[in-house]
Amino acid sequence: MSKPDPNGNTMPGKEPLIKEQDRFLPIANIARIMKRAIPENGKMAKESKECVQECASEFISFITSEASDRCHQEKRKTINGEDILWAMQSLGFDPYIEPLKLYLQQYRESIKGDKVREDEEDEGSGG
């Protein structure tokens, strides 16, 4: 039995393939999101989904790089939400900013709700 490598893989032939796939988002998720944006009777060729899969990773890297630069300029170590919003504006994705702020607000409220529920459960059980 071969020793597992740091990734936990024991099949040498499969190693590069798994690392390669980690660079991309799952194609099923990509396809699901794309489907919402194309006409109802439209289909997507496998090649087009794979191409968009690569584009998604490029987009993430693009935004991250810009946000990271700003973070460094301000001598901070943690990329925060403001850095991302700033990067979106800087790179020409202004229309995303307002929707993103709304989503973030909903998300924060949802997390707060979870924390309150957890605290309530603790009080009930712990005493």
């Binding site: 584009c55 490029e58 991302i84």
Partner: protein, 116 residues
């Protein structure tokens, strides 16, 4: 006397398709389920961000915003690609439609040459 509000079916359907996500959030909250705010795996997104050597720590807000903006980006790219599919009077989005969108839409120019 009970008043029944008249609802235009078309309006409801249009609203539903435009705000499907909002509807899902509302339904989930009503049933005390955690709404699915993101449709992409946060861990994988974080992994891709960390591939940048200059990227060290990422706040929860930042990770959420990158995830959400990627969703918006994917929808946008798909929509623009589908326009080229439509021009070719086809029903299947091909890779060449995505390439055409990258060549013609200014905000997608960063992808030019970035793909293998």
């Amino acid at each position: 006397m009970e008043e029944v509000a008249e609802v235009d079916v078309e309006d409801v359907e249009n609203e539903k398709s435009q705000s499907t996500e909002t509807l899902e959030v509302v339904e989930a909250l009503a049933s005390n389920e955690k709404p699915k705010f993101v449709r992409l795996p946060l861990t994988r997104i974080k992994h891709i961000m960390k591939m940048d050597p200059d990227c060290s720590l990422i706040s929860q807000d930042a990770l959420f915003l990158v995830t959400k903006s990627t969703e918006l980006f994917l929808e946008y790219l798909a929509k623009e690609s589908a326009k080229f599919m439509g021009m070719g009077k086809r029903k299947t989005v091909q890779k060449r439609d995505v390439d055409a969108a990258i060549d013609n839409v200014p905000s997608l120019c960063f992808l030019d040459g970035a793909l293998e």
